[in-house]
C-alpha cells in the first residue's frame, strides 16, 4: 500500500474513533444537563400534564438511561438519527441536511479568504525581516486574533449596514448576506495562518538556497513562491486544516448573530431546547466535516512534502 493510501486508511480509522467518542461524550453530557425535553418544549405548561419524556427514537416512552444507547444505535441503523423532539415530525437527517449547506458555504468562503490573505501577509512579514513593516503586519495579526466576534460583528453592522447601507445587516437572502459573516469568521483565521506562515517562513529565510536566490536578484515574489512557500506548504496545509475547525466552531455564534439558518445555529437552538437528537446529529455532522477537511489537508500535506511518503521529520527542500 502506498504511503498516501496508508495515511488515508489511518485517518479514516481515526475519524471513526473520533466520531464514536464524540457521540459517547455528547450523550453523557446531555444526560447530565439540567432540564428535560418536555419542559424545554412546553415551558410551564408541561407541569402536571404527565407527558412522557421523549427518548432517542420515534416512540415516546420513558426508558432508563442505560437503554438509551441501544435506542440511538437502532435509530442510526434505521438511517434517520431519530426525529426531532421540538420540530414536529421532522427527521433529524432532514434538518441537518437542510441547514448544512449554509454552514459549509460560510466556512469554505472564510477559509478561502483567510488562507491567501494570511499566507501572503505572513510571507511578506517574514521577508521584510525585523522592522516597521513587520511590526504593522504583526499588529494586524494580533488584532485579528484578539477582536471578539461580537465586537467585530457590531462594528461591521454599524458601518457597512446601518451607516453606509452597503450590505444587509443579517439574514440569508442572497450572496451579499454572506459578506459580513465570512469576514467575521475569516478574521481570526487570518491571524492564525499569518502568524504560522511568518514563523515557518522565518526559519526558511536564513537558509542558503534562499540567500542564493535573493543574491541572484530574483524578484521577491519568486523567492517567496518558489523557495520559501513551497518548503512550508506541507506543514502549513496541516495547520490550515486545524484552523478550519476553529472557523467551523465559529459558525455557531456567527450564524446566531447574523440570523443565518445554518447548522451551527440549528445545533445551538436544539441544545438550548434540549432537542437532543438534533443537537447530537448537528454536532456529529460538524465533527464529520471537520474530520473530513482535516483528512484532506493532511493528505495534501503528505502530497506536498517534497520527501514523499508523508511520514518522518520535516526538512525543507534544498537543505542539505
Amino acid at each position: 500500500m502506498t504511503g498516501l493510501a496508508t495515511l488515508l486508511l489511518r485517518r479514516l480509522l481515526a475519524a471513526v474513533f473520533v466520531c464514536v467518542s464524540a457521540a459517547a461524550l455528547l450523550f453523557l453530557a446531555f444526560s447530565v444537563t439540567p432540564g428535560d425535553p418536555v419542559s424545554a418544549i412546553y415551558g410551564f405548561a408541561a407541569a402536571g400534564q404527565g407527558l412522557p419524556q421523549p427518548v432517542w427514537g420515534p416512540d415516546a416512552a420513558l426508558i432508563p438511561l442505560d437503554d438509551r444507547a441501544a435506542q440511538i444505535i437502532a435509530a442510526w441503523r434505521a438511517g434517520a438519527f431519530g426525529r426531532s423532539f421540538r420540530v414536529d415530525d421532522a427527521a433529524v437527517i432532514d434538518i441537518v441536511t437542510e441547514a448544512l449547506p449554509a454552514t459549509l458555504f460560510l466556512a469554505a468562503a472564510a477559509l478561502t479568504l483567510a488562507t491567501p490573505l494570511g499566507v501572503g501577509l505572513g510571507a511578506a512579514a517574514a521577508m521584510t525581516g525585523a522592522g516597521g513593516r513587520r511590526i504593522w503586519v504583526t499588529l494586524v495579526f494580533t488584532i485579528c486574533l484578539s477582536l471578539p466576534a461580537v465586537a467585530l460583528t457590531a462594528g461591521l453592522a454599524y458601518w457597512l449596514a446601518a451607516s453606509w447601507r452597503l450590505l444587509p445587516t443579517a439574514g440569508w437572502e442572497d450572496g451579499w448576506s454572506a459578506v459580513m459573516p465570512v469576514i467575521v469568521l475569516a478574521a481570526p483565521a487570518v491571524g492564525h495562518i499569518g502568524r504560522m506562515t511568518c514563523a515557518l517562513a522565518s526559519d526558511i529565510m536564513p537558509l542558503a538556497h534562499v540567500r542564493t536566490a535573493r543574491a541572484k536578484g530574483l524578484p521577491h515574489w519568486r523567492v517567496a513562491w518558489f523557495h520559501v512557500l513551497r518548503n512550508i506548504a506541507a506543514p502549513l496545509a496541516s495547520f490550515v486544516g486545524a484552523v478550519f475547525s476553529g472557523i467551523l466552531g465559529g459558525t455557531l455564534l456567527v450564524e446566531t448573530l447574523f440570523a443565518i439558518p445554518g447548522l451551527g445555529h440549528e445545533t445551538v437552538t436544539a441544545t438550548l431546547a434540549r432537542d437532543f437528537p438534533v443537537a447530537l446529529g448537528g454536532m456529529l455532522a460538524l465533527i464529520g466535516v471537520n474530520v473530513a477537511v482535516g483528512t484532506i489537508t493532511d493528505m495534501m500535506a503528505a502530497a506536498l512534502d517534497p520527501r514523499g511518503g508523508g511520514a518522518g521529520d520535516w526538512r525543507p527542500a534544498g537543505e542539505m
Binding site: 444537563t33 439540567p34 432540564g35 428535560d36 425535553p37 419542559s39 424545554a40 418544549i41 412546553y42 415551558g43 410551564f44 405548561a45 408541561a46 407541569a47 402536571g48 400534564q49 407527558l51 421540538r86 420540530v87 414536529d88 415530525d89 441547514a99 457590531a154 453592522a157 454599524y158 449596514a161 446601518a162 447601507r165 444587509p168 445587516t169 443579517a170 439574514g171 440569508w172 446566531t256 448573530l257 447574523f258 440570523a259 439558518p261 445555529h265 440549528e266 437552538t269 438550548l272 431546547a273 434540549r274
Partner: protein
C-alpha cells in the same frame, strides 16, 4: 378596410394590456409590506398544537377564536357573535357569525369548531387550549379512544352549537382557541398547516420557512376591518441586538423588543418617538417554597422579603422606566376597565425597617438563624435577580447564592417544584383574573410552583370559576387576592412592558397588552 380595423384592434389591445400592466405594477408598488422580527424560532404552525409564545402570536394573526380579547379588558365577539348559558355555566350556547369564510373560501360552520376541539384534544403535541376542554362532557372517552365523538359538543344548526360540561365553567367564553378549516386536512393532508392557510383571520399564511421567515398576506375577504398593510414579513432574528441593528439600517420596519434590550432602548434618544409601549398582562414574583426552606412557612419572613425590595429602583435601573408594578396579585389588571376600580389597591411597598422588624419578630433578628438558600433565576433575569439577592442579603442578612439557569433548566426545575427560592413569571392566557389566581396559587394547579396551600383560598377560586355573575365573581376575586396579600404568598415584582419600535411607515402597528400585534382598531366588549 378589414386590415385597418384589425390593426386598430391590435393597437387597442396592446394599449389596454399596457394600461392593465401599469395598474398592476402601480398596485403592487403601492402594496405596503412591513418587515418585523420573530425573536424565537417557531417550531411549527399547527393551530391545534403547542407553538410557544412567539408562535402563538404569529398564529393569532391567521386564526381566530370564538371570542377575542377586547381593548378595554374582557372579551369581545369574534367568530361567535353572542353566547349564553341557561344553567349557570354548565351549558354554553354559541352563535357563529354568518358569512365568515376561511382563507380557502369555505364557509365557517359548527363542524369546523367541533373539528378544532377534536384536534386540540388529540394533538400529538400538547395544545395550550386542551386544558380549557377538561370539563367537556365526553372528553375523557374521546381522548382515551373509547368513543370517536365528543358527546358534549351538540350541533344545533350550521351556525349554532351547545357545549355541555360536567361542572359549571363560568369563564369558558374567555378561553382562546384557533378555529381552523375542517376541510384542510382532507384537501391538503395531515401536515397542511405548514404550507396552507386554514384560518379566518385578517392575514393568511402565504409561506413559512422554519427558522427563516413567515410571510403573511392580508385577507381580502376578512369579515372585519382590513389591516392597513398588505404583506407582513416576519424574519427569524434570534438576537435582539441584531434586530435593533436591522431596525437602524431600515431592514425592519418595526421590532418587538425583548427584555434584555429594554434599558438600551429606553436610554437611546434616537428611539424617542419611535416607541409604542403597553403594560404587559403578566405577573412576576419571587416564589418562596416553605416545604423546601422551612423559614418561608412563617408569613412574617415572606413579607419581610417583599418589603426588602425596592421595586422603583428595579423599574428605573433595570428597565429604564419601561416596567410597571401592578398592585395586588393581578386580579385588578385583568378586570374590565369599568370594573378595575372595584379592586382595592394592594401596594407592594419598600420598607427595609419594617422588613427587619418582621424578621426579628419571626425569630431571625438580622438574619441570624436563617440557613443559606439558593435563589434560582432565568439567565435573562440575571441582572435583576442579582439586585434581589443583594437586597435580601443587605436588608435581611440572608445568605443567598444565585443560580442562573437557561430556560429549559429553569422550566424543568420549576415544574418539578424543586426550587426553594426563585424568580418567575406567568403570562395571562385569557383576560380573566382566574388565569393568575387559579394557575399560580390554587393547590390543585400543576402550575403552582411554590406549592401554595390554602383551602379557604381554594374554595374562593372554585366558587369564582363557577360563578356566571360577573359582580359575584369579582367579589370572590377580591377576597382571594386579599387572602394572598395577608399571607404574603409571594413577593410580587415589576413587569416589563411590551415594547414596539416602529419607523414612520409602521405607525399602523400596535402591540397589545397580551403581546399580540394589532393592525386595526379593536372592538369594544359586548358588541357583535
Amino acid at each position: 378596410m378589414d386590415g385597418l380595423k384589425r390593426r386598430a384592434a391590435g393597437v387597442m389591445v396592446k394599449w389596454l394590456a399596457l394600461a392593465l400592466l401599469s395598474a398592476l405594477v402601480a398596485a403592487t408598488a403601492n402594496a405596503q409590506t412591513l418587515r418585523s422580527n420573530l425573536r424565537d424560532d417557531v417550531p411549527n404552525v399547527d393551530p391545534a398544537a403547542f407553538n410557544g409564545v412567539v408562535g402563538n402570536r404569529l398564529l393569532a394573526l391567521v386564526y381566530e377564536g370564538l371570542t377575542a380579547f377586547a381593548a378595554d379588558g374582557g372579551v369581545a365577539p369574534a367568530l361567535a357573535t353572542h353566547w349564553e348559558t341557561p344553567d349557570q355555566g354548565r351549558t354554553w350556547r354559541f352563535h357563529l357569525r354568518p358569512g365568515v369564510r376561511f382563507h380557502s373560501g369555505r364557509p365557517l360552520t359548527t363542524a369546523d369548531v367541533e373539528a378544532t376541539f377534536r384536534a386540540v384534544l388529540k394533538a400529538r403535541r400538547l395544545s395550550l387550549s386542551a386544558p380549557f376542554l377538561d370539563k367537556l362532557v365526553g372528553r375523557d372517552d374521546f381522548v382515551s379512544g373509547r368513543s370517536d365523538r365528543l358527546s358534549g359538543f351538540v350541533t344545533v344548526d350550521s351556525l349554532t352549537f351547545d357545549l355541555r360540561f360536567t361542572a359549571q365553567v363560568a369563564t369558558f367564553p374567555f378561553y382562546p382557541f384557533f378555529i381552523f378549516d375542517s376541510g384542510a386536512p382532507a384537501q391538503w393532508g395531515a401536515d397542511w398547516h405548514g404550507k396552507h392557510s386554514g384560518g379566518t383571520g385578517p392575514f393568511r399564511l402565504a409561506s413559512w420557512r422554519r427558522g427563516q421567515e413567515a410571510r403573511l398576506e392580508a385577507n381580502p375577504d376578512y369579515w372585519g376591518p382590513r389591516p392597513a398593510i398588505d404583506v407582513l414579513r416576519l424574519l427569524a432574528v434570534p438576537s435582539v441586538e441584531t434586530a435593533l441593528a436591522m431596525f437602524e439600517a431600515g431592514e425592519l420596519d418595526f421590532v418587538t423588543v425583548s427584555e434584555p434590550a429594554h434599558r438600551l432602548v429606553a436610554s437611546n434618544p434616537r428611539y424617542r418617538g419611535l416607541l409604542q409601549v403597553t403594560p404587559r398582562k403578566q405577573m412576576r414574583f419571587i416564589g418562596m417554597n416553605s416545604a423546601l426552606y422551612p423559614p418561608f412557612a412563617d408569613p412574617r419572613v415572606r413579607k419581610a422579603v417583599s418589603l426588602a425590595i425596592d421595586r422603583r429602583a428595579v423599574i428605573d435601573g433595570v428597565y429604564g422606566g419601561l416596567a410597571v408594578m401592578e398592585p395586588g396579585y393581578g386580579a385588578g389588571s385583568l378586570a374590565p376597565d369599568t370594573a378595575a376600580g372595584e379592586f382595592p389597591v394592594i401596594a407592594h411597598e419598600y420598607d427595609p425597617a419594617a422588613a427587619q422588624r418582621l424578621l426579628a419578630e419571626a425569630g431571625y433578628p438580622g438574619g441570624h438563624g436563617l440557613p443559606p438558600v439558593e435563589m434560582t433565576v432565568l439567565d435573562s433575569l440575571r441582572t435583576e435577580a442579582s439586585y434581589y439577592a443583594a437586597q435580601m442579603s443587605a436588608v435581611l442578612g440572608m445568605s443567598i447564592k444565585l443560580r442562573v439557569l437557561d430556560r429549559a433548566g429553569m422550566n424543568s426545575a420549576a415544574n418539578a417544584g424543586t426550587l426553594p427560592l426563585f424568580a418567575a413569571g406567568w403570562t395571562a392566557d385569557f383576560p380573566e383574573p382566574l388565569t393568575y389566581l387559579e394557575a399560580l396559587w390554587h393547590s390543585a394547579s400543576p402550575f403552582n410552583q411554590i406549592r401554595w396551600r390554602d383551602p379557604a383560598y381554594d374554595a374562593l377560586v372554585d366558587e369564582a370559576r363557577q360563578s356566571v355573575d360577573d359582580t359575584r365573581r369579582r367579589a370572590l376575586y377580591r377576597q382571594a387576592e386579599q387572602r394572598l396579600s395577608v399571607a404574603g404568598a409571594a413577593a410580587m415584582l415589576p413587569t416589563p412592558m411590551n415594547i414596539l419600535l416602529r419607523h414612520d411607515n409602521a405607525k399602523s402597528v400596535l402591540i397589545t397588552p397580551f403581546g399580540h400585534l394589532a393592525f386595526a382598531p379593536r372592538r369594544a366588549a359586548g358588541k357583535p
